[in-house]
């Protein structure tokens, strides 16, 4: 059995226009430590898959299991980051990163008794993403890219086994985005957690993922699965190599077919 499994999952939600089907018959298996990217046109239900795995939404039909157990509510072993960094403006960068420790057991208890090792861990994380020296800044004093780095650190501080990323670099400029690909790859390789990344940037998907799934337009179905067999660590240089470009073209072709 795989670490994360979706079996024939369909999700309907009620809206003013009646019932909308977000995703349909999605079946997906993700191994522990795998880096999966889900690509597809906007509004195709990619985010829905993340919310199902996180336990924020119940499936209408089908089953979602994580680590062998059916998902019935929010899982405490996930970290999430969104396109919007969603930092709390009344907290400093460091305090924002430490937020999950005030909520997730068993960290909550240990953190309350002795915060020092956690603060140290937060500093180390901030250093990894290139934010040492910014721990005591307020979020609005940081650039968009720095806020997104902080958001990544917050998603990782409680050592989640699954990292769910919803277009985390979607709002950033191209240079910052590509730089953060490298940062994310480093974090993933260091920590070995399972990552599900939702994106509409195919280069981003190929750069980061072991496996790229493509979704159709709404109601979203998985229409293809591509294993990216490129050596790690991948670099920005690699994105200009023919084999990399070949992958991007292939996935692009699948999406074009799906839209036709």
């Amino acid at each position: 059995m795989s670490f994360v499994e979706l079996k024939d999952v369909t999700l309907d939600y009620a809206s003013d226009q009646g019932i909308t089907r977000a995703i349909e018959q999605v079946t997906l298996a993700i191994e522990q430590g795998e880096f999966v990217a889900i690509a597809g046109p906007s509004g195709c239900g990619k985010t829905t898959i993340l919310k199902l795995v996180a336990g924020l939404l119940p499936a209408t039909q089908g089953s979602v299991t994580v680590d062998g157990a059916a998902v019935r509510g929010p899982l405490k072993i996930v970290g999430m980051a969104f396109q919007n960094p969603t930092l709390l403006p009344w907290r400093t960068t460091l305090e924002n990163v430490l937020l999950p420790l005030e909520i997730v057991e068993p960290h909550k208890r240990a953190y309350r008794q002795d915060a020092r090792p956690y603060v140290q861990a937060a500093h180390t994380l901030l250093e990894t993403v290139g934010l040492d020296g910014f721990a005591d800044r307020q979020p609005w004093q940081l650039s968009g890219g720095m806020q997104q780095r902080t958001s990544l650190c917050r998603a990782l501080i409680h050592e989640p086994r699954i990292l769910l990323l919803d277009e985390p670099f979607g709002a950033l400029d191209a240079f910052t985005r590509e730089e953060l690909w490298g940062v994310l790859q480093t974090l993933w390789r260091e920590r070995g957690c399972t990552v599900i990344l939702v994106t509409h940037d195919l280069r981003e998907a190929v750069y980061l993922a072991n496996t790229v799934y493509v979704m159709s337009r709404r109601p979203g179905r998985l229409i293809s699965r591509t294993s990216v067999n490129l050596p790690r660590p991948r670099t920005l240089e690699d994105t200009f190599r023919p084999e990399f470009i070949e992958y991007v073209h292939e996935i692009r072709r699948q999406i074009t077919e799906a839209l036709a």
């Binding site: 929010p74 899982l75 405490k76 970290g79």
Partner: protein, 251 residues
């Protein structure tokens, strides 16, 4: 340093300037003291009637603060409730709007029938008039909470209470303090309205008596005392707002 001086000095200067203009205007146009007494005359009346003004000012301050305190507690509670529940929001909002549309002066006679003349109607009027802005603002602060912010916490398994204490409460604090500044001044309005018609103590009562004796300078002295207390209470909440929600003002 220069900016700080300007920030605190300017408002004081504007107030003093207003009094000076008023004084000069009164002298130039030879205004009757019975129509619009000059500030110097008003101040003389204040000194002359000090012994009567102080206890009545205390009475007004006391009733205002109790009414306002009740409004904070009640407004915070109701604001939290309707801010969190869309259902209760739509259920209760029309009633609240209707209630707030009633002129509070029109309620004073009713309160007198219920509670008699005295302190209680003044407290209740202060409460009723300052309650609404607190409810609306706290509810708005909570209702406009970004769903992603809640998702971050929910995905960690946070309880509703935790989401409230970590995000909902701090997020609505600027709204809360904003409403307190409005509500604090309204509370004085409420207390004085009640005292004007249905009391035997307070600045409002003092003003009714003074105007019955055609002592217009004393009426104005009463008005200025209420204004001064309003400014003082406003300043207290403005300082608290700065302290607790500095993040919302970005330095």
């Amino acid at each position: 340093m220069k900016n700080k001086l300007l920030e605190y000095g300017l408002p004081v200067g504007v107030i003093i300037g207003t009094f000076i203009l008023w004084e000069i205007g009164g002298l130039i146009f030879k205004l009757d003291e019975f129509i619009l007494p000059r500030p110097s005359v008003v101040f003389a009346a204040f000194l002359k009637w000090q012994h009567a003004i102080w206890p009545n000012a205390w009475q007004t301050l006391f009733t205002t603060l109790i009414g306002f305190g009740l409004a904070i507690v009640g407004g915070l509670f109701l604001g939290l409730v309707i801010g969190y529940s869309k259902l209760l929001y739509s259920a209760l909002y029309p009633l609240l709007i209707g209630f707030n549309s009633i002129p509070k002066a029109a309620l004073v006679p009713v309160l007198v029938i219920w509670f008699g003349i005295g302190t209680v109607p003044a407290i209740l009027t202060a409460f009723l008039i300052s309650f609404f802005p607190i409810v609306v603002n706290v509810a708005t602060g909570l209702a406009t909470l970004e769903p992603e912010l809640q998702d971050v916490l929910r995905s960690l398994g946070a309880s509703r209470v935790e989401i409230f204490t970590k995000v909902g409460f701090p997020r609505s604090l600027p709204y809360f303090f904003g409403s307190l500044k409005v509500a604090a001044t309204l509370a004085f309005v409420g207390a004085v309205i009640a005292e004007l018609g249905a009391s035997n103590a307070g600045i409002g009562y003092l003003m009714v008596n003074a105007s019955a004796r055609f002592d217009v300078p004393l009426v104005f002295a009463g008005l200025l005392v209420v204004a001064a207390m309003g400014i003082a209470l406003y300043a207290i909440f403005a300082v608290m707002e700065r302290r607790f929600t500095a993040w919302a003002y970005r330095g």
